[in-house]
């Protein structure tokens, strides 16, 4: 049975390993997952490619796209727009691929409201101490930036219960398996099994009418 894909929203602490997790998932299950590419008005950074890292555009075009319903969510950060183009997501879902979206809680909740059958996953290291260790081990951040990230993680942790599943990223390989398992299981929740339930209810009704 060729099911429609699931729109998967990934949030989580900076340092939780979302990026690596997404990369592994796309590597190991090429036919089953696709990554949503955001549209943004911010300037490309060195090495960033249009259509791969972002779709780069100007404010006028972004606003027009949003006004025409071409984005499933968008937000403005630090004077730049970021949004999720609808067409690509819908194409991939229709082709049976699960679409991965890395996004923060406000956007995640916005998407859940519009698409109740979307799947909200929160990625976290096993402990806060481990989160701190990972941030420090990057070796690229100042003490101040690390403190800011941890303060932000504290705020984000308040929203964890709004997610459908908590993905604990301890061992990467195990976590990829677990995440994939969660997606399989999520297909069997009634919210994503509606068509099946309605079909079997209809068939059983027909039986009892002696049809």
């Amino acid at each position: 049975m060729q099911d429609k894909g699931i729109l998967i929203v990934l949030s989580g602490f900076s340092g939780a390993g979302k990026g690596t997790l997404v990369k592994e998932l796309l590597n190991q299950y090429q036919d089953e997952y696709a990554l949503s590419v955001s549209m943004t008005t911010r300037a490309p950074r060195v090495g960033e490619q249009d259509g791969i890292h972002y779709f780069f555009t100007d404010r006028a075009h972004f606003e027009e796209t949003a006004a025409n319903g071409g984005l499933i969510e968008y937000a403005e950060y630090c004077g730049n727009y970021y949004g999720t183009p609808k067409a690509y997501v819908e194409e991939q879902l229709a082709a049976g691929r699960n679409v991965l979206l890395e996004i923060e809680i406000q956007g995640a909740l916005q998407i859940k409201k519009l698409f109740p059958e979307s799947l909200l996953l929160f990625v976290t290291p096993p402990t806060a101490v481990e989160l701190e260790r990972r941030l420090k081990n990057r070796g690229t951040e100042t003490e101040e930036v690390i403190a800011k990230r941890l303060a932000r993680a504290k705020e984000e942790s308040e929203g964890m219960k709004a997610y459908d599943y908590i993905v604990i990223n301890d061992d990467l390989a195990k976590c990829v398996e677990e995440l994939h398992g969660i997606v399989q299981a999520a297909r069997r929740e009634p919210i994503r099994t509606k068509a099946f339930i309605e079909e079997i209810q209809k068939e059983l009704k027909a039986f009892s009418k002696g049809e």
Copy 2:
């Protein structure tokens, strides 16, 4: 990490294969699952053993057990009591084993209210036609009994959306795997990850206070 077990309530159409599914699960994952044995006041049938198929008892003792809070749910069918003894369930859950309970929707919803972290699974064949075929293939039931079972299935199907997951039993071996996968995923829902979430929130708060 030694997690507490999950109380798993299995419902589903007569003919969906719940019994076989439970047997396979207990066979393949002996250390992870335990089967709850019901207490009943009905007389043992030929071959039924006390403590294995049921705990057989009289009405006075059953009512006393219920009055003392010794049952997590009970109901009366056709003049006999059926109930789930609490002590065994709690022992198994504490030992980290998932406890399987085969029970109908009223009992299932009763349990969900009392134990919000319990897991309600609805087992169904892939189609109503397949359900009818399985009931007929047993070869032990009259046309009338089959019609009754299908009428009853129609009623039961109205409650499917109240379950946490719909387990589609097409191929037995695959279904056992899927069911086990659902149980693993369910451990990551916020309702069953409360202790973890609260711990990480506490740790992150302590960090931001500079502790």
